[in-house]
Symmetry: D2
Subunit: 453 residues, 4 copies
């Protein structure tokens, strides 16, 4: 029997709190899980700074990756049980696509580094490009496993993740507006944060999925389950992913890494606290090996060292990150944005480096995109509902709720600043009291506001 | 209003996946949570190497500590609602004990370091002594908060944790065979691992608790809920806490730290990979500050560095820990223990340093102790059931199930060795085939076995 | 101590699958639960014919009534803990309103009979009027308990249910667009049906509730929890409460009772099968006692008798109801409604009494009403969100999702007919094949459709 | 394609709160569900009088029967996926046994009537014999469906239920100490009552099951899951099934039916309240048709009628059953049993018919039977654990917990009497006060007790 078809003598399971069990049936999948690159995902939190707000959310990309694999596996089973192809080109499910789908599901996030969003911003990396590199570079263990299936298999899996793979059912199973990735992360993030918003009816959605010529549609009888998924995702963005305190900790992280980089570039860091594993990135000459050496703990270790650095700002930002001292924030809009320079001046007057201690952060998401546009950076096909006669209708045409949030960016832009500007640490008389009083006039109902005379 | 009695204007909540919400009503509690020492618990996994077996179990001591606080808070509420004291010495609940109980609950684990069990073994530290030090040393933020309640308050909280506090209800709420600590960790570890064994009926147990002169008893109507708790705990030990793969990873960690220490002591480590934050421990001269600088990520960072160390064993053990390459293990007993020297010799013959690559590990727990013995290292009072006439009966007298596991150590002793001894990496002919064949003869049904001729 | 303030020596609990425990603290509440009128609710299913579609939904109005009580109790506790009144008229919570609120919550559905909707249609009764009668009529046990609190207490509780009570916080707690009733039934119906749609974050919604001068508002930070509640309720209506199969069984029940009534009025029923307990209703001269004698089982018993009645239609409809043989249905609109007379003619031609075997059923609900209109039959106040400065904003102004479904009736109208018209029982040649063929031309994608030529 | 092999074009599902979905793949199964005899199970509560104690437990035998089917289906899937037979007699799973297994699972309880235990006691019926009759009698719809599979199929299914079927794997799947029936009812009863005891790890137990020559064994790695199942079942008996209040309501029901029968036999019932559907049973001449006409609601309807009967005892017992007025009870043992005649005399003296108002009830269960004894009334094979070398070991040899409750009857015997004997209705002076005082002397800690002088 070829390696591609090698089944384990008996299915192996991983206990998972979200799906109860992750079932592994193929030797290839088990070997991929055991690679060094995949095991590394145990050391990278799924939600970065979110655990500063929702303390339960300490789960890593390892469990999520297994979860996406499991959802994809269940979709394949459902397709094979209910819609197996009878003739090439009939638009039904061809189970010989299973392995490539499962590998792509398992590995879709393998290129993520610690606190990806911030890291990529500071060091100009791209986790998707690195994912492809891990799959296709001959130096990785992942590549060695994939190559053993067939020489072209690594590229094949990569093309699914890049959405250039010919079989659209496989592509949409892994990346679309209702894919295995999103299904797992909503459930998993809801489970670990403890919020209820992210829960939707996974089995009902899975059962509604139907393979057809152009990918995957949803039986119209499952309309409300799909709608519920979209609403859940929308609410998770509003309530969890965009939480101001998590973003505030991300702002601190961003400024902290930026500061460390500047100090390194200026050549005046403390000799004792050399961030060995970060230097290749400071110097813009990192290898894949360097990248794979990073994880959340590496960052934390340098911050512990830096907490007593000579540079006061580096030390203070490290302390704020490690000991959870978030900045405060307020919403603003295009009109009140004009107030920000004045506020920054006040913050400087109160003794803060306004570069290090203030920030603007925009967080927006498209809850559902009803207009496929191939020119977009990341176009995603619309969700199509299938009627009993086989005709299709786009989701937002059928759901008033989805229509209400469709095509509209959702989120806010916030201005971050030290909370001491509003709640002076010392309760008594303060040297800067006038500054604080002036500052406070611009904030009302947690929003930047032009004061009435 | 004094700081001790300062209530938040409106209760503050932390979203928690296990208890749904953690309710904070006192300013003191909120201030303790915001200390540097408490925030540090976010970086120390609750179950150490268990997440190598149960990938979901990535939760930290931070959430557990909040959970113990919450369970204690609910016990106080229940006592105050149903059994408030009417006269001093009536054996009912005196709610002026609430704050000391809540602080002790919150802080009972604050002295834990990364992978405590292993760490304490290698560096001869003691997390309970450190807990007391953190509470009472003037240099900590925790102490500063406690001191603000009253000068003697830090010692008072420490005495609860040390079980010398006069009010036995408070002591037993925090440390006994059915305390807030155990209640939280069973539920939490079950939630995060995804196993079902740890679940018991928290509300039913809480409702059964009754304060009395000598501490806390349980209404006899709640007998089965208490029994279920004991069985759940027993099963969690068997299935989760004593899992051979997690213990195997702990063995690797132990040998790895031991090796690093020996190399340091011998003075021949790589210059590039100096484990700055560990040196005070290698040199047996660490301060509380040094201790508080450690966390799981610090260890991981050194392991990443050491993965390419010159010392082959240090490098390989680091790789095994980071990339999850557990040792294999088998049970043995006093009779088959005699085989171990021969097996170690075979392992040496196959090219392994048998000091670094084999180990014996015993894991035993007393599921329930029905015989209080003050001479024991950690004596715990028995669980007493209260009949409707107020008379008491010890749990194992009433429950055949508890009686069956009462007073008997439960667990096993295992011999750990490289799994390559059983499953040679290369499927074909092997130089060491004879050795492997000999080795395999001693293992049957996952146990060390004296071969029949 | 007066009866009104009599607290149980220790709180009593009822185990409940939805709220875990129902806590009873007052003797009055316990006495109400033990009345004959309240115990009768055990014999009346909460969701009538819905269990024919969702077999798990066999729960009764008894559990729901306890659940509404429990939610109201938790609201009172939250209000008393966080917003206790300090001075009369300050708009905060006055805990002396607790007992009237709890009694109204417990008893709000006490006037329901079996299959209320159908029953009221056939016999022109009104469960709300009967609720008030049960509270205020001296012949009931409920009234005797309430009267023991004070002579005017029965009327006081009744006025809460009738929404004429002065304290708007109490009224809105029991009847409003987000009241204890709706909160319990969504969670309970979701639990028993097994669907996921009805779940929302009860604790989060409860925590958001704030008493104020004009009733109960919701803190704006809980906006998404409130939004989620509205969406959940909308989806439960779409997926569960309006399910066509349940409505079909209700149509059968309606026609069956109608037929029985006509037979009785015509005086030609079978002598053996006299529906003793229904006769007062057939004769429009029923007493409260007669009403309280009815339950689901009484109906079922008569149907079992009627299954072998001489009247073929009565017998067949009884069989269809007992043995779950639903009619089939299709959606229609104002245009396709014109086809119905022709379809009814075809159904007659195929041998069915089209009066007994066809029906039109409209099911519509207002998911959220953003425009309070006191002239409406059952006006409900809008949901108001409270900003941090105390100002209010109506929910649909803040939530695009709620706005999308606000003020618009949601549901459908369906035409019901024997499914044999589409799937002839005998697979072979059929005398009525031409009729069936003609009939089938009008149905496409489960909708009534004007056929293309 | 033959009817036996006819698969639905697409699997059909029933939403179930316990298993989420019940999957139906065969036309035969769907047809069986739609029979009149199976639909009748919707009108028979699973736990009889238990809902008087646990109000949530209003579920019927319909859902349970679907659940047992679903568990059996999952076992078949697991066996076929992991242990498919390769050669006749190899002891592995032969999937051609699937249909007979599924039908037996679905229909195993079809002979149950309302409140079976009591009913069988009064009317000397036997639900197992009736199950076989429903399967094999040509007059039933169930038989017609089974017959369509093949002429001998009804007998085949019946033989599985009677445990005479040749394939022991199929027999043990349906009736053994760890069968699909027990697995479903524990989970379902726990879900509906809301208690936590009944929950065990279904998926883990299922995964441990292994077909072998003599039936079904359990992989030794699943030992603790099996142990947990046994403990859960033990606790459900102690806490739910044997609850004194439910048994008290059963006592009332028993006495009520007995009284009605005696009145009928004496020929002096009220003319108005003839229990038509019960008469065949009073006269010991009932047909299968008569039996199938009974359900919980029929009983309730007669009780409503009898509540105003001329016979005072019949009327009062009806009231007590309908309005939930349980008797009180105390435990006794062989020694204190001697007190009962005296207590009965006191009860008579206080004006009660001691035949109607007192009772003795024993409830015992064997939590686990480690000694298979074919001479027992219902012998059940022991649970066998399979080691990795294929050898077997009986469960209680491996589990101290199971051993502790193995082979020992568990339960109690109680004496039931009017609670007015202890808590006189009128708080003031009472004619019978001396009697009550004497009575109370014999009861201590809820047990019958010989008073100390």
């Amino acid at each position: 029997m070829s390696y591609a078809n090698e089944r384990l003598p008996r299915e192996k399971v991983f206990r998972d709190p979200v799906h109860n069990y992750i079932y592994v049936e193929n030797q290839v999948i088990l070997d991929l899980i055991n690679t060094r690159e995949f095991q590394r995902l145990r050391r990278i939190k799924q939600l970065g700074t979110t655990s500063f707000t929702f303390h339960g959310a300490e789960h890593t990309r390892f469990g999520h990756s297994l979860g996406v694999y499991e959802v994809a596996r269940e979709i394949c089973d459902h397709f094979q049980r209910n819609y197996p192809t009878k003739a090439a080109g009939d638009g039904l499910w061809d189970d010989s696509e299973r392995l490539v789908a499962l590998c792509a599901a398992l590995l879709h996030d393998i290129g993520h580094g610690p606190y990806s969003h911030t890291f990529e911003h500071i060091f100009q990396t791209n986790h998707e490009a690195i994912t492809v590199e891990i799959l296709t570079s001959e130096e990785t263990e992942v590549n060695r496993v994939l190559r053993s299936v067939s020489p072209e298999f690594p590229e094949k899996v990569a093309s699914v993740i890049q959405k250039t793979y010919a079989n659209k059912q496989v592509v949409q199973m892994i990346s679309s507006q209702l894919d295995a990735d999103r299904m797992d992360y909503l459930l998993r993030d809801a489970y670990y944060t403890g919020v209820k918003y992210g829960t939707f009816d996974l089995q009902r959605v899975l059962r509604s999925m139907k393979p057809y010529q152009d990918g995957i549609a949803f039986d119209i009888s499952g309309k409300h389950a799909v709608e519920d998924f979209i609403v859940s995702r929308f609410q998770m963005y509003q309530q969890v992913y965009f939480h101001p305190v998590s973003r505030s900790m991300e702002v601190i992280l961003d400024h902290l890494l930026q500061r460390a980089k500047e100090i390194y570039e200026a050549g005046n860091g403390d000799e004792d606290f050399v961030p060995t594993l970060l230097i290749p990135f400071f110097e813009h000459r990192f290898s894949l090996e360097d990248y794979l050496n990073l994880d959340d703990g590496v960052f934390g270790t340098y911050f512990i060292n830096w907490r007593t650095a000579n540079d006061q700002i580096l030390a203070d930002l490290s302390h704020r990150f490690l000991d959870r001292k978030p900045l405060k924030s307020v919403e603003f809009d295009s009109e009140t944005a004009t107030l920000i320079p004045h506020l920054r001046a006040l913050i400087s007057d109160a003794g803060y480096d306004s570069h290090a201690y203030t920030a603007i952060n925009n967080s927006y998401d498209l809850p559902y995109d009803d207009a496929y546009d191939p020119k977009m950076k990341k176009p995603l096909t619309q969700i199509e509902l299938m009627r009993s006669d086989g005709s299709l209708v786009e989701l937002s045409q059928e759901s008033a709720i989805v229509n209400a949030i469709s095509g509209k960016l959702s989120g806010d832009q916030r201005f971050f600043f030290p909370k001491e500007m509003l709640i002076p640490e010392d309760g008594g008389i303060n040297l800067f009291q006038d500054i604080f009083n002036d500052f406070g006039r611009y904030i009302h109902n947690n929003q930047l506001t032009i004061p009435k005379e």
